[in-house]
Structures are given as structure tokens and as C-alpha cells.
Amino acid sequence: MRYQTLFSACLLLFVASCTEPPKKEAAAQETAATETEAQLVARALAIHDRVLTLDTHADTPLRMIEPGFDMSVRHDPNESGSKVDYPRMIEGGLDSIFFAAFVAQNIRDDDGDSRAKALALQMIDAIIESTEANADIVGLALTPDDAVELEKQGKRAVYIAIENGYPIGSDLANVELFYNKGVRYITLVHSTNNDLADSATDAKGVEHQGLSKLGEDVVKEMNRLGIMIDVSHASDDVFYDTIAISKAPIIATHSNARAVTEHKRNMSDDMLKTIAQHGGVVQLTMLASYLRTAPENPERDAAIAAARANMMPPSEMTDDDRAAMRQTLNEINQKFPNPPATVQHAADHIDHIVSVAGIDHVGIGCDFDGGGGIEGVFDASEVMNITIELVRRGYSEEEIGKIWSGNVLRVFREVQALAEQKA
């Protein structure tokens, strides 16, 4: 049983009438009206246990290249910043995950491309080795059904992805190489433009006005092979180009709704509608700055300003002076913490995407170990709180199942079916 301790505790509060999900809206409303908070949580946890949960984006391979990092050991996120390991996936009831091999954008020439490819392969190998070393609790997944089968075996499913198409270089054959290594989605571009596409966030602006010719060829090759196309991080023009060219539905593995939080990395309502019309899915991410506009913190700002006003010129400070000043600032930050982004903010985005795109076109991609993590969903051990909030807002078990995995696995199946037709 997953997250045994928490679930066992909640079972004490569990009532018989909550053991089965309500089958009709009226029944759901009646249940919601009469149940206590503890009962609601217990009902939500039971749903969380029954549905297949899939997080479509984690940068955990970065952790895997930390010397001595062991995925089989539970880590304290407040000590190391680590957000995912296998014990915490079990604790949080997270059944499956896409680990993204990320290589930072660097020079765009043959040398840079070949190095990026080598580094991506190293990270992919680290993912595979991790699954092999922990074969009693996890398994490498290559097809949509693998997650289902592994869940039945009581194992977590680990899928492989690449974040940033940079390692493809200019050689289309690399797409098939990565597919054969197990890669099942590729994020076309990252924070700056690459040879495939424009980024949503490159300070230098657009370069290709969308997808490049090479990017178009890569999209077609991904269609041919059965690799999902991820448009998170891409510019709006890249999104529309990809929609126009791809024969299969596309995904945004970690993006939110721009109408709720204005950010270039989030998706406009038109993009949400368009991706839905083409059968795709937007996976909500747990990045604070994409979930809400950071509120002011005047008390902290005033306290820090006062501390800075009283400090001696930094160039004249001794090491002891610097340590004392750092301590003062740390204490102020602890006393006046920034108001956090919360699971309620995340659910607000889900509500909006559902209202604009429909329940069949939203999912979850937390971006753990890539900046993701908010109050209530700080790491993999806390993802059940998303389900609790969805239940609180009246989502049914069927709908929650779609959000947690049904929608993205539908896209995954369609992508692979198209590839089989082409073969």
C-alpha cells in the first residue's frame, strides 16, 4: 500500500459511506455537504490511491549526477533541495514519472552539439542505471501501458524524456537514437533559442519566427517514431507551428494558464483551446512564479532595508563582519517569509484550464528538481494534496483520474498509434 502511514491514520477517520466514489453528481454533492474535513481527506486519499498518478516533468537526472546521490534513499528537501527519490514517490502515492535529461543550451556548432549529445546520453544512462539498481521498486517504462502494468506489480514507472532539443544537433538520426534509448518525449527548446525553435524567454527575442526548418523535420521525425512533442518553454509561434505540422496531438509537460498568471511560459486561452482541439494536453506545473504573481512583503523589505542602511561598506568587511550580516538577513527572512504559492493556486489554474480547454486536456507536471515545489506540494511525498484539493473543489474520481494520468496517456497512445500506422 502506498504512503502507508498517512493512509492508515486516515483510515481511522474513514466512514463506510466514503469507500466508494459517488456515481452521480447529486450523490457527490450530498457527500460533500455532510462529510467532515477528515472524511473528505480520507475520501480523497482513497481516490488518490485508486487512480494512476503520473507526473510528466522532473529534472531529477540532475540529482542523479550528484556524486553519491542515491535514489533509493529518502532525502530531506529542506536540507538538500532534492524533491524526488523513490521512497518519497511511494510516500506521496506517485505511481509514475517522466525524468527529463536536461543539457543547458551552449554553443550551436558541431562540437557543442556532440558534447550536448554525450551529456544527454550520460544522463539517460543514469536514469536507466537507477531503475536497474532499484528494480524491486521501480521499472523503466516505454509504453503507456507500462505504467499501468508496473503499478499492478506495486512498482513505480520511470519514463525518460529530454528537455531541450539541443542534443539532437543537426542530425535527425539522433532522434531515433534517443527513441531507442527510451526517450518518449522531447521538449523542443529551453530558456534560449536553439537550432530547432525559438524560446518563450530568450532575452534576444525570436530567431526563427517559430520552428526552424530543422525543427519542422524533428517534429515529423518524432511523429514517425512515436515520441511526444513537448512545447513547454517554446514561443507562442513555435506552439502554433508545431500544432500545424504535427500529425499527432502535442503536450506541454510543465506549463500553466496565462489568463490566471501572466507569464510568457504560461499558455494563453487561445493556445489552451487550440491544443484541446488537436487532442493534446497541458500539464500543470508547480512553479511559484507561474502560479501566482508574488505578493509584496513590506515588513521584510523594510527590515532588510534598515539592516543594509546600518551595515559598513561591504568592501571593508572582514569575514566575521560578513558572516554577521548574513546571519542578520537570514533571521529577517525567517521572521518575514514570502507568502508562498499554494496548492489552491495550482487548483485555480486547473479550474481555468478545464473551463477553457475541457477536462480531457489538463494534467500534472510538477517540475520537481527544476524549480517546482510549492506550499503543500513541496516534493514528491506531498502530491496527494493536489488530489485532496481537487476533491474539495468537487472533481469526481473519473475526472481526477484523467487529470493525473488518463489524459496524457491518451495522447501518448495516439502518438504511438500514429507511429505504428506510419511504420
Binding site: 549526477i65 550528484e66 524560446s199 511559484a288 524549480g371
Partner: protein, 172 residues
């Protein structure tokens, strides 16, 4: 020319954070490169300018040092090197390389402006070992991650150093 070309072109590097806008993931990048044909070992660091300012003058938005800019104050580089010497080193074949900045540049905009630093060392010796310490900004952020890419001739490796694991040795 490979090494020199990389040094020059790395000035264009920008997007080293995962999800930018005040970089929610605390990250720096380091690239170490040695090509036997060039007989030069090159180290590049890419640091968020906000983090540098926080570390040096206790204010992420205070650019009074003017690092990488025409109006850089005289003591700015000394303060930066003083900080780096406490938190960063590379030992090649057991010998620690003295940090002397060959090139400094700024890339990006606003909160995501990156300070690029290049260090270059002539080296006749084959590289048999590298010991890298990269604890930059781990004194500021508990979750600081410092990614290191190492390219020795045709061998490319990546590792991530942080507060818990600030030092690692690679043997060739």
C-alpha cells in the same frame, strides 16, 4: 582552435536556468574544457548577477560594483575573486589553479542577467585528474545547485555539486 572558439562563443550563453524569472531553481553553471591540441585548460563560470550581488554587497538589486560593465568599480573584481576563492577551486593533476579572470561578460536581462567569467591556463601536461570544488552561493541558498560540465579532449561528463557535496574528483 576548438578551445578558443568555445571560449569566444560561450559569451553568448544565456539560458542556464531551468525556469527563469528570478530563477526559482538556484543554479550556476561551470564548464571546464581541455583540448590537448590547444594545450589550454579553460574554466567558465556562469552566475546569476543577482546572486553575485547578494553574496558581495548583500543586495541582489544593487549593481554598485558594476561587474562586467564599463563603470566597474576598482575593488569589484577583488571582492568577486575573494568570494570565489572561498567557494570555488579546480585542481588539475593535484595543483590548484590560481583564479585570474581572463574575461568577464554580462548576458540576459533583468533578474535573469548572467555574469560570465572565463579563466584560462596554459597546460602542457596531460590531464590525469581534476578536483573541483563548487560551493558558490551555498552560503546563501540551502538548495543551490552547481552544475559542472567537464570536457577533456573527447570525454564529456557532467556532475552536480551543492552544499552537501561541494567537492568531487575526476580521474582520467
Amino acid at each position: 582552435m576548438k578551445a578558443n572558439k568555445h571560449v569566444a562563443l560561450c559569451l553568448v550563453l544565456l539560458g542556464f536556468c531551468f525556469d527563469i524569472q528570478a530563477h526559482p531553481l538556484k543554479l550556476s553553471l561551470c564548464q571546464i574544457e581541455y583540448a590537448a591540441a590547444e594545450k589550454t585548460l579553460t574554466i567558465e563560470l556562469r552566475l546569476f548577477l543577482m546572486d553575485v550581488n547578494e553574496a558581495l554587497v548583500f543586495d541582489p538589486d544593487n549593481n554598485e560594483l558594476g561587474l562586467g560593465q564599463p563603470d566597474e568599480v576598482p575593488h569589484a573584481e577583488g571582492m568577486l575573486l575573494g568570494y570565489l576563492n572561498r567557494h570555488f577551486y579546480v585542481k588539475a593533476n593535484g595543483k590548484q589553479l590560481a583564479l585570474k579572470i581572463k574575461r568577464m561578460s554580462l548576458n540576459g536581462q533583468g533578474d535573469d542577467t548572467a555574469l560570465g567569467l572565463t579563466f584560462s591556463y596554459p597546460s602542457q601536461e596531460k590531464i590525469t585528474s581534476l578536483e573541483i570544488k563548487n560551493a558558490v552561493f551555498t552560503d546563501l541558498f540551502f538548495d543551490q545547485s552547481n552544475v559542472v560540465y567537464v570536457h577533456i579532449d573527447d570525454d564529456s561528463r557532467s556532475l552536480m555539486l551543492n552544499k552537501k557535496t561541494p567537492v568531487h574528483q575526476l580521474v582520467y
